[in-house]
Structure formats: C-alpha cells, structure tokens
C-alpha cells in the first residue's frame, strides 16, 4: 500500500511540472494529487492489493460513528443532569472484545467511552477485557451490547 501512495505523490509531482508554471504552487500540486488518485483507483488491481484510499473512507466512516455517538451521549447526559429526579443505578461491568493490538483496543475503548452513559475504566493486562463504568448500568449495558459489533467491524475495516 505505501507503494500506491508514493506513486500518487509522483503523479502529482509530474502533474505540477507539466503545468510549466513560473513558480511552484500548492494548488497545482493538489490538483495533480487528485488526478493521481483517479488514475490509481483505476489501476489498483495491478498492485494486487486494496485501493489505498479505501482505508481513508473507513476512517471517515469511523469518525462519523464517533461524532454521532458523542452527540447522542452528550444529549443523554444533559438530560440526565437536568432531570430533577435523579434515580439512576450506576455501576461497573465488563466487556470482552476480540480486537487485538494497541490501535484497535484504543479505538474501541475511546468509542465506548464516548458511547452514551459509559466510560472505560480499565483494560486488563492481556488487553482483551474492558471494565466499563455506566451511568445507568441496565440501559448502558444494553446500549453497548447493541452497538459494539458495529464498532468492532468499523474498526477492523480500518486496521485489517
């Protein structure tokens, strides 16, 4: 995959020189880069690997998940704060994940933390068990269980 990126850079550079301008312009280079993306997308099967910007797309997707989770959870917590009769049952529960590696675990933990009503408190030394604090343990547990496979999938799309 790095080869694809380098090639893309080369195309952009070529593009810039072909423009034959007095000075180097960032914008020219940028347009060259976009041209390169287009060319490489067409040709990516030659490399026998995935199109490298695919990963970018998955990252963006992941980011959206992040943002939407954050928005939801902040609304939820605002509601909980402003609720005059506060009678939730907080608590700590565990979740075992199949994700491996620092990046995956970290990303998932952050996602979970931003999920409504839960904060990851601990990761066990083996790195496969999360200890999660929930604002309202019943509801959060359910929320987490519901969306967690979605998260794991999105993450693996980026990393694997």
């Amino acid at each position: 995959m790095p080869a694809q990126f380098l090639l893309n850079l080369f195309i952009a550079f070529l593009w810039t020189t072909l423009q034959d301008e007095d000075e180097l312009k960032m914008t020219t280079f940028f347009s060259g880069f976009i041209v390169g993306i287009f060319i490489i997308f067409l040709m990516h099967r030659f490399f026998g690997t995935q199109f490298y910007l695919r990963r970018l797309l998955s990252i963006i997707k992941l980011l959206f998940i992040f943002i939407s989770e954050l928005a939801q959870s902040s609304l939820l917590i605002s509601k909980q704060i402003l609720n005059p009769h506060w009678d939730l049952k907080p608590g700590i529960f565990t979740y075992k994940t199949e994700l491996k590696g620092d990046w995956e675990i970290t990303t998932l933990a952050m996602l979970l933390t931003l999920t409504p009503g839960s904060v990851v408190m601990e990761v066990n030394p083996e790195g496969d068990m999360f200890y999660i604090h929930a604002m309202d343990i019943e509801q959060s547990k359910a929320d987490v269980m519901r969306s967690i496979t979605k998260f794991e999938k999105a993450i693996m799309e980026v990393t694997r």
Binding site: I81, L82, L114
Partner: protein, 119 residues
C-alpha cells in the same frame, strides 16, 4: 443579510450552544453524586461544548475572514482524541485510589479484581 452573514450568525449560535452545553456539564459536575458519574459529564458534554465552540470559531473565521485555520482543526482533532483518554485515566485513577462509588451503584465488576481483600 447576506449568506456569509447568515453563516456567521449560525456559527455564533453554534458557539452559544456550546456554551450552554458547557454550563450544563458544569452543572453536572455539581449535581452528580460521585466522581465516576461526574466524569461522564466532563468527558461528554464538556467535550461537545468545546467542539461546538471551536467549530463555530472555525466556521466564523472561514466565512468572515476567508481563513481556514489548520490550528483550529488540529485543536478540534486534539480535543476529540484526548478527551476520552482523560476520562479513562481519571476514573481509573479514582478507582485505584479507592474513591467510593455512589450508594446507588449496583454492580462493581472491578472490586473483585482490584481489591479482593476489601470484600
């Protein structure tokens, strides 16, 4: 009112929303019963508040001064990345320094792993 003025106004409203969010989360910091629940408020509402105001500022500068601030983008990214980590670290520290959960709490899966002797 031109388009750009309208966008400016929207940006400012976004900022204002952020400030409201911030006050709410601050209120949560007082209202909620223990440090763990309070950290929910801090990591979520307060993060949203700052993201809103920074985005508002970003939009404002973009529209009114035609200035795309990389620094603001970086700032947003940074807060976004670090806020959950802070929440994680602080609650962990709280638990490990034996700060009690609120009375209402039901489950405590960590207790048996960390402080089995306290049972």
């Amino acid at each position: 009112m031109s388009i750009s003025q309208m966008i400016e106004f929207v940006a400012v409203v976004v900022i204002f929303l952020g400030s409201v969010m911030s006050v709410i989360s601050a209120f949560g910091i007082i209202r909620l019963p223990d440090v763990y629940t309070r950290s929910h408020a801090a990591t979520k509402s307060s993060t949203v508040a700052v993201l809103l105001s920074l985005s508002g500022a970003f939009i404002y500068f973009w529209v009114s001064e035609d200035f795309i601030s990389v620094r603001l983008i970086l700032g947003i990214l940074f807060v976004f990345l670090t806020a959950p980590v802070s929440g994680h670290l602080l609650t962990r520290a709280a638990y490990r320094s034996k700060v009690k959960l609120t009375e209402n709490s039901s489950d405590d899966a960590l207790k048996e792993v960390l402080f089995p002797e306290d049972k």
